[in-house]
């Protein structure tokens, strides 16, 4: 796993005399850095692409407000995942995956194929990745979220913050999720 460090702001980056400009700059910088990972996370949870796009817009606008309001800047990455996760969950009364519970393998395969746009990309979706996607679709929603956030380099403490779980529950979900994957693959 490649650990990705949480974004830290230094006092030098944050220009107190121009808070609006500083906030705009930082929001766009974070958007450029994080939107692909955030979008993948949402799509993987079964959020449709339009809802994912809207969710991301709203998430980054809220980040802007959060920064201007002097909110805690110590872990903006976990903050982004938490807000995006909750907004998407509210937008789609339930994620597709959790509604259907255990997706059939055919469904999971189709879901991956559906999100892939061009024939070349369809070709590039390797058998291995499809197998993992199918197995992941069989985990509980909490196990899947924890494993996905972990694979984005979030520490357990950050995952706990993003999903509003205790750190020990995150640890349990990671463990049970990996054990289940091991059985399935």
């Amino acid at each position: 796993m490649v650990p990705v460090r949480a974004v830290e702001l230094s006092a030098a980056e944050w220009d107190e005399t121009q808070p609006v400009d500083a906030a705009n700059r930082l929001v766009l910088e974070l958007y450029d850095r994080e939107h692909v990972s955030l979008r993948r996370y949402l799509l993987y949870l079964g959020v449709d692409p339009e809802t994912a796009a809207e969710t991301l817009q709203e998430t980054f606008l809220r980040l802007h407000k959060h920064l201007l309001g002097g909110g805690n800047q110590s872990n903006l990455r976990a903050w982004l995942y938490r807000v995006a996760h909750n907004l998407a969950r509210n937008a789609q009364t339930s994620f597709r995956a959790s509604r259907t519970g255990d997706l059939s393998e055919a469904n999971a395969r189709q879901e991956i194929a559906d999100t892939i746009a061009t024939p070349e990309e369809r070709f590039l979706a390797r058998e291995e990745e499809v197998r993992f996607a199918e197995a992941l679709a069989k985990l509980s929603a909490a196990q899947k979220s924890c494993l996905l956030l972990r694979s984005q380099g979030l520490k357990y403490r950050e995952i706990a913050e993003a999903l509003n779980l205790s750190i020990s529950t995150v640890g349990e979900n990671v463990q049970r999720g990996l054990e289940r994957l091991k059985e399935l693959l």
């Binding site: 830290e8 766009l28 201007l68 110590s74 291995e128 990745e129 996607a133 990996l178």
Partner: protein
């Protein structure tokens, strides 16, 4: 020497994820060095983790350039006169940190009686004294505050200049100087040393010596 027990999956995974604390980490690390079975078991979890990463990366997540433009436009519409609200809300944020910190201060305060007591300035002053007498960073001395874990490394701290309510400082157990009411609104300009956890670790009131 007895062969120590094999760590269970939960421990092996937390070791893999860098989620074990010092002593436990050393114990597991030492065990792994001499136990091929556990190494193999941990390797399986590592490969599974790489597989999840690859599966996630395979999801195409290209955004249209229009989405970024749209976000930029919405940001530009944000109120231009946010400065005053920034200060007000920052003060609020500071207050929240103090409130959270007070709970800690009560825990740190030496208990002279076993009965639960309400927190007093005296308690927090004692707590402060217990934390540290001062923090020196590049020649600037900060009065220690009890909110950030003093054990956290200082190198990731940052210093932010802000307006801090004098009353909040008094509550935090800082001995308030009469000359600190310079702003006339009950606040004082100070460099605040924020710990790696984002909580105030120390304070240097500007213009006070």
């Amino acid at each position: 020497m007895n062969k120590p027990m094999h760590p269970d999956n939960s421990v092996l995974i937390r070791h893999l994820d860098g989620e074990l604390a010092g002593e436990e980490w050393v114990r597991v690390d030492t065990h792994l060095a001499c136990c091929p079975e556990c190494r193999a078991r941990q390797l399986e979890f590592r490969d599974l983790s790489s597989g999840i990463e690859a599966a996630l990366r395979a999801v195409p997540a290209r955004a249209s350039a229009a989405e970024r433009v749209q976000l930029g436009e919405k940001l530009a519409e944000a109120p231009r006169s946010a400065s005053s609200s920034v200060i007000v809300l920052r003060r609020f944020g500071w207050g929240m940190a103090l409130a959270a910190g007070l709970a800690l201060a009560v825990l740190l305060a030496p208990l002279t009686s076993k009965a639960p007591r309400t927190k007093t300035v005296a308690d927090t002053q004692r707590a402060l004294a217990a934390v540290s007498s001062g923090i020196n960073i590049n020649g600037e001395t900060f009065i220690a505050l009890p909110y950030s874990d003093p054990a956290l490394p200082l190198n990731a701290s940052r210093i932010v200049e802000m307006q801090v309510p004098v009353s909040a400082l008094a509550e935090a157990g800082v001995a308030v100087q009469p000359s600190w009411n310079g702003n006339g609104d009950g606040t004082v300009a100070a460099n605040v040393l924020l710990g790696i956890d984002g909580q105030p670790l120390g304070i240097d009131v500007l213009g006070a010596d």
